[in-house]
Amino acid sequence: MFKTPRSRLILIILITGIFGWQLYSEGLKLGLDLQGGMHLVLEVDDPEETMTVEAKADMIDRVDRIIRTRIDEFGVEEPLIQKVGGERLIVELAGISDQDRAKEIVQRNAFLEFKLVLLTTDMTAALSRIDRSVVAALGIDSIRALGADVVASEQSEIVDLLFGGGDTTVTAEQVDTAGVVEEAPEEEDPLDSFQPFSSKLNMGDIPGTYLIALEDIPTVELFLAMDEVQRALPRDQALQWGMELVGRGARTYKYLWVLEEDPFLTGDRLETATAGRDPQFNQSQVQFELSRAGGRTFGQFTGQHIGDNLAIVLDGLVQSAPVIRDRIGARGQIDMGSGTPLEEASDLALVLRAGALPAKINIIEERTVGPSLGQDSVDAGKIAGMLGIALVVLVMLTYYRVAGMLAVGALGVYVVLVLGGLATLGAVLTVPGIAGLILSVGMAVDANVLIFERIREELAVGRATRTAVEEGFQHAKSAIVDANLTTLITALILFQFGTGPVRGFAVTLSIGIVASFFSALFVTRSFFLLYLQGKKASDPISV
């Protein structure tokens, strides 16, 4: 296979295309040292070292779960949360502006509550009151502006809802101007037709829930945060968000739950929670145990509310809401249904444990890099990198001429493979990573140099062109293989032992070595075969 230069070329183009596309579509992520951002390493507080390894690992699992619950609070895209070695947690936030707030979010104690789920009909009467209070508090113009904001990024149908339906050709710009009133004649009685809040609520498929479309979430959040709206809610009732986004048809929604405001039990009464599988009915379940006092409260409450839903709320977000089937005392069990994977049960058990015992978390490492510093580094690195590449190209071309050109082509393929490989693995480029790249570029160039020098030697002892090239590749191979393999061994060890930046070095180096291997022994060779095509065995070559 791949005997002919043509089939080799097709393979090269194919592979380069795939990795090039990966690089183009995924993009190369920069590490925090280059991009700017915040890097936190957290550890469970255990000054006397009294905790067992398992207890620590469980604690880290819980902290991990808690921070994931708060992920939206950081206000950055794609925060990275990673467990390290069972006792540490790394949180990486790209481009964070408020460091103290980020630290507070990470270290704040988790708060677990059990609340009764009410029916949406309990809320119906209050909805028009909320609508009116929003209109009264914000005024029609600012609600319009708000609506326009949402419209600008989404569809115009929200405008229809906001303005009681009508002209679908109204654009964001028009809404923003005062002239919109003339264009939307339905608004003769604005106060009644305005339903800024309730128009965004869709009836949920679980009792006691509304579904809010993804694009409406910020607006609804804003309304809910207003004091006027909170006052307009019925006494002892609360609207609280669900944890996750759900897909219904083509659209994405979030649940908004109608709950009793006061929890009847909080997480500190919970002793243990474990996930398991009921072999008889083949379903996942969570078993939990409450303290004695907690068991009494729970028993009394569940006895009165058989058939109702019970919301498990962590940090203000509803995580799950099982139906109460029976009176439950100090020991209980939540059945997840037969189709549910064990992971979901484990996750719920984790949620319960997360709120049960507040874990004290220490920040043992904190790094921030301002965005300007990061940007300066990237700019400088780019210019330096370009000059470096230009120098390599210059040397190869003047020294090896046509063969140098082939090598430059192969190095071009190499660069695409390495960067595309990094993008595919989702690896981030850090300063140590650049070191790894330099070393592997060096090795890629070196491999070509080894081959060309060898070809020259073979030509010098009087071999025919074709034989010299064959022999050159053949003899250079052992040195290239051994050099690359030993370096790869080192890189893999570093990956195993290293943390953070050193790992970044190891990853880029490993990818670089594999790519340089392929580039020198396959790509350069293929280019050489193409170059030799049509030449007679004795024709001179430029190397």
Binding site: V369, A380, V431, I438
Partner: protein, 318 residues
């Protein structure tokens, strides 16, 4: 264009001079490391990555000097302040309090600066705060990683070549790392994580260079009539044959690194310096340390063949 074509330098004969040069370099390094221990209590200028502590990098108004900052941070009691790259950027380092939160020191420094110059006179562009425990672990891990990679390299080379090739390669790499460490100690270069990556790069580069020469020695050992040749000649010939490649590869790598040094900016400056040094030492050691070591090992302990395939015709020795 051809460089060092048909060269025939007597490298191995010059090995005693090389030992002398290497010895001096190592000796000077050890002297500086000792001096560092006496003066600062640590043989290297470990950064906060390893010792734990706080680092704050600030960009200040042009008219503020290091002296002004020092006054603002407590005069004689001020934590060390160093300039970073540009005129108006400074780095303040401070040890982390025993039981305080790791952010406390940095917050204090920021508050002191704000009190002295006002909030707008400076901008914090980078902070690093590392607990002491993490730092200690890092040192140990880096050491383990290097030792372990030595061991595996040794095994790999013993199988692919012979045991003494592996030993010679490890000696050369160790030589490079020690000289680099001496240099770092002499110039008080801060040892941070990127510096460790640079040292590891040197390890890789030096090994790569050595293996290319060894590969040629191995090949020449298996040529006809090699057994009757003087081992020193054989090694010399191998080094000379790979000399064009050695010069070209090192030269190209150095050119790229120089570009990085001049244009790469202050963040990677230290790091690039270490790499440049490493490339020079690594090239030198593959010729003047690794190859002579091979000869010396053979002279003292014989051939010590491991992994030699019996089927092959008996190769020459070097």
């Amino acid at each position: 264009m051809r460089l060092f074509h048909n060269a025939s330098y007597r490298f191995i004969e010059a090995r005693r001079k090389a030992y002398f040069a290497s010895g001096i370099a190592l000796g000077v390094g050890i002297v500086f490391m000792t001096l560092n221990v006496v003066n600062t209590g640590s043989w290297q200028n470990y950064g906060v990555d390893f010792t734990g502590g706080s680092l704050i990098q600030i960009q200040v108004d042009e008219n503020l000097t290091a002296g002004d900052l020092r006054d603002a941070l407590g005069g004689a009691d001020s934590p060390p302040i160093t300039r970073f790259g540009e005129e108006s950027e400074f780095v303040v380092r401070a040890p982390v309090a025993e039981d305080g939160s790791i952010g406390a020191v940095a917050d204090t420094i920021e508050a002191q600066l704000a009190a002295a110059f006002g909030q707008d006179a400076f901008e914090v562009v980078r902070t690093e705060q590392v607990g002491a425990k993490v730092g200690g672990e890092l040192q140990l891990k880096a050491l383990y990683a290097i030792l372990f990679s030595f061991l595996l390299t040794l095994i790999y080379l013993a199988i692919r070549f012979e045991l003494r090739f592996g030993m010679a390669a490890v000696i050369a790499t160790l030589h490079d790392i020690l000289i680099t460490l001496g240099f770092l100690a002499a110039f008080h270069v801060e040892i941070a994580l990127p510096t460790v990556a640079a040292i590891l790069t040197i390890l890789g580069y030096s090994l790569n260079d050595t293996i290319v020469v060894f590969d040629r020695i191995r090949e020449n050992m298996h040529t006809k009539g090699a057994r009757k040749r003087n081992p020193v000649d054989l090694v010399n010939q191998s080094i000379n044959e790979t000399l064009p490649r050695t010069v070209l590869t090192s030269g190209t790598t150095l050119a790229v690194l120089l570009a990085l040094l001049v244009l790469g900016g202050p963040v990677i400056f230290d790091f690039t310096v270490v790499l440049i040094l490493g490339v020079i030492i690594g090239t030198y050691s593959s010729i003047f340390v690794a190859s002579p070591a091979l000869i010396e090992i053979q002279n003292r302990w014989g051939l010590g063949r491991v992994g030699e395939k019996k089927k092959r015709p008996q190769p020459a020795t070097v």
